[in-house]
């Protein structure tokens, strides 16, 4: 079946719903390089304004999902549950979470992305481990999942090729923040992993895609709907991203903080989110049907060292040198430190996640463009949380830097990220809701 793409763009623009056949044709033609970018970007912009109705979203998600391979791990006896975050600043949750959950008996075929813009990427953080390989071919991926129960890899080229092409185009055509497009991009990639269940961490706040709770709820409901319609259990937890998660924002420094959590330490906010998502994954994987028991199991694999050992095992299996895990001072660091301090005593009213995220990006910890190279040792350590009382001169953040110009670009953002008020400020809750 063939259609006129111009006519389809015009119909979508004018508010008509496209049929499943039409959407399937658009996605497959574009993926096969038979539709020009300029028609696809115009269509995507029309979708930004008009949206996709339930039937169109269903067709769009299916067309994405079946644009490439869909994995089948039914021969792996353990329940397969993954977790996905919509992206934030300081969000290293996957790194402690995945070995904790796998140590409790859940298999995790995790495919992660790289950082782009102010949000970091799990792959970039993991690759600060010398030798660690995240590009795994499908047979190796399967073999590692069978042997260790956890794989921490990049997206396979054979899964959802449509998303790679469409995401690149969206990123440069102003068509990223559309709930149906975000939802179908995320869910098609996760559903192609052959999961039994998926836990979503939907971030809310200045450092997230979704700046307010209402939008985040719609995104969560949309993603949960796409998954459950295809027989995969999906739960979304809405968590705060108005300030960075944990203290470390960067790459190597986030690995160090992740290892602290695996040893029973780490900042309270990071620990809270990690355990909450871990509970959801154990419940979803059927390891237990009691949340309190799930929590106990997670605590047990941390205190026994089993969770840390699982990370060591995965790092070795993927070619990494585990020495850095045993001695985190071996991780790359920056040559210099600049401390941002409080000008006056008071209470921290804001430690803006977006400003700090963009600050870290300018420092070299992230990428403006996909081709940029990350400096693994630079980063920002946020010393205070919203609600903390500070004295004049107290450190608010420490900037680990290598390049004068980068520091100069970063500093104003980090300075303006913080605001200190006279009166007490209550700490915002970390967990803002759950869907369904």
């Amino acid at each position: 079946m063939t259609f006129s793409i111009t006519e389809l763009i015009e119909r979508k623009r004018d508010g008509d719903a496209l049929s499943a056949d039409e959407i399937s044709w658009i996605i497959s033609e574009y993926t096969a390089d038979r539709l020009p970018d300029y028609q696809m970007s115009a269509l995507l912009m029309a979708i930004m304004f008009v949206g996709l109705d339930a039937g169109e979203l269903d067709a769009w998600a299916d067309a994405m999902l079946y644009s490439g391979d869909v994995l089948d791990f039914s021969h792996v006896a353990a329940p397969k549950v993954d977790k996905h975050s919509t992206g934030g600043v300081g969000d290293k949750v996957s790194i402690p979470l995945a070995p904790m959950v796998t140590a409790c008996g859940v298999a995790i075929p995790m495919m992660s992305g790289r950082g782009l813009g102010h949000t970091g990427g799990t792959l970039d953080k993991l690759e600060t481990i010398p030798g660690f390989r995240t590009a795994l071919d499908p047979p190796e991926f399967t073999r590692l999942l069978e042997s260790t129960g956890l794989v921490l890899a990049g997206q396979s080229e054979t899964l959802v090729p449509a998303d790679r092409r469409i995401y690149l185009l969206r990123d440069s055509s102003g068509t990223v923040p559309s709930i149906p497009l975000i939802s179908s991009s995320i869910m098609s990639k996760k559903l192609a992993e052959g999961l039994d269940g998926l836990v979503l961490d939907v971030k809310v706040g200045s450092g997230a895609f979704m700046k307010n709770l209402d939008d985040a709820k719609v995104l969560a409901e949309t993603m949960v709907g796409i998954g459950t319609a295809r027989g995969t259990s999906v739960t979304a937890v809405l968590t705060d991203m108005s300030q960075p998660l944990g203290r470390a924002v960067g790459n190597a420094n986030e690995m160090v903080e992740s290892i602290e959590v695996l040893h029973g330490g780490g900042p309270a906010d990071l620990v809270e989110v990690t355990y909450r998502l871990g509970e959801e994954m154990l419940l979803m994987g059927g390891i237990t049907d009691e949340r309190a028991e799930a929590r106990r199991r997670l605590e047990a694999v941390v205190s026994s060292g089993a969770a840390f050992e699982k990370l060591v095992e995965v790092v070795e299996a993927q070619g990494g040198d585990p020495a850095v895990l045993h001695d985190p001072s071996l991780f790359p660091t920056a040559a210099n430190e600049h401390v941002v301090t409080a000008g006056a005593p008071g209470f921290v009213a804001a430690a803006d996640a977006l400003d700090i995220g963009v600050g870290a990006l300018r420092l070299g910890a992230g990428r403006e463009a996909k081709s940029d190279v990350i400096d693994p040792g630079v980063g920002i350590t946020v010393e205070v949380n919203v609600g903390d009382e500070v004295s004049a001169g107290d450190a608010l953040a420490r900037i680990a830097w290598n390049d004068d110009a980068a520091l100069a670009a970063t500093l104003p953002l980090v300075e303006r990220a913080f605001s200190i008020t006279d009166g007490p400020v209550s700490a915002p809750p970390m967990i803002l809701g759950e869907v369904p």
Copy 2:
């Protein structure tokens, strides 16, 4: 000055107004091939939804106008006035109008377009004259304007290069029907002709861009505003395009009908619109300041033969063989005729311009794509107007055709274009309004 195009697209999408510097940068970078089509089409689609405010429209029109040469005919003593139609079905008005007005003393440096989709183009009609050249270089254009007072040419490559590029992109990206984009496209081309005045024929109805009077008024006001802000007198006449203008829809057949008007004949609706626009042009050119006197002068140059002789002079000056003008039976014709007849007696309630326009297109009289070749002899002759009383078996339209498959594609459209009702129907007015 440079900007981030992605950021500009995002700001426009989110409803921010772009600055004049930003708009000027976008248009000049795109024209110079330094912005990719997929970013421009996304921006254009955002403009479809958000629009352009007064300041942005002003900047957009200027950036288009000054993307290339702006002609200066101040050394030509006669007033320079052009006419532009927003496009319709059977709209051959320029062909009789221009020689009539020039015969009254107004110079017309007319640059016209080709037909695309269901609307015909003046150039395609003129090129049914053997040898007639519409591609003129600037020195020849100027020389002909000086010698004959009328040039009927295609758009010069050196005028408004931005429009050529942007229009091609709009045509294939679903971003044509935007009032600010249409207005700035038309007005930049006309203002670059170095005019003293411009009369716009804004078509309203199924066969026009603007389907209803309200939209057409906004388009007219927008175009008049762009012109007057730049010191050029502009008047817009809103005319009916719910049914084809005149009887002939095609190319050679429209030339024949145009020559009838120059000899004092032709269908009443075509004559009415032609004279009304001619009056405006004479008033604007200062030939007289009385409408009735303008009308008398137009009638005089028709009855004296001066208007027809002016067309002969222009055709000869542009390399055409005027024999077809003297004997219109020499124009190309089609091999076959199919007559569509009334199934029952009654009154014509509709002779839908869009259906008949698309019918003529499928017959080979127009282009689906810019590269299509036109068949000059095929076309449709509409035998009735809305309001006419018909008997069963009366001819409604005659289809002049050369190709079986083309006829089969055309026939259902022409048949459904007509509706016949029992009760009397009043003929719609041709002139629907004027701006200002």
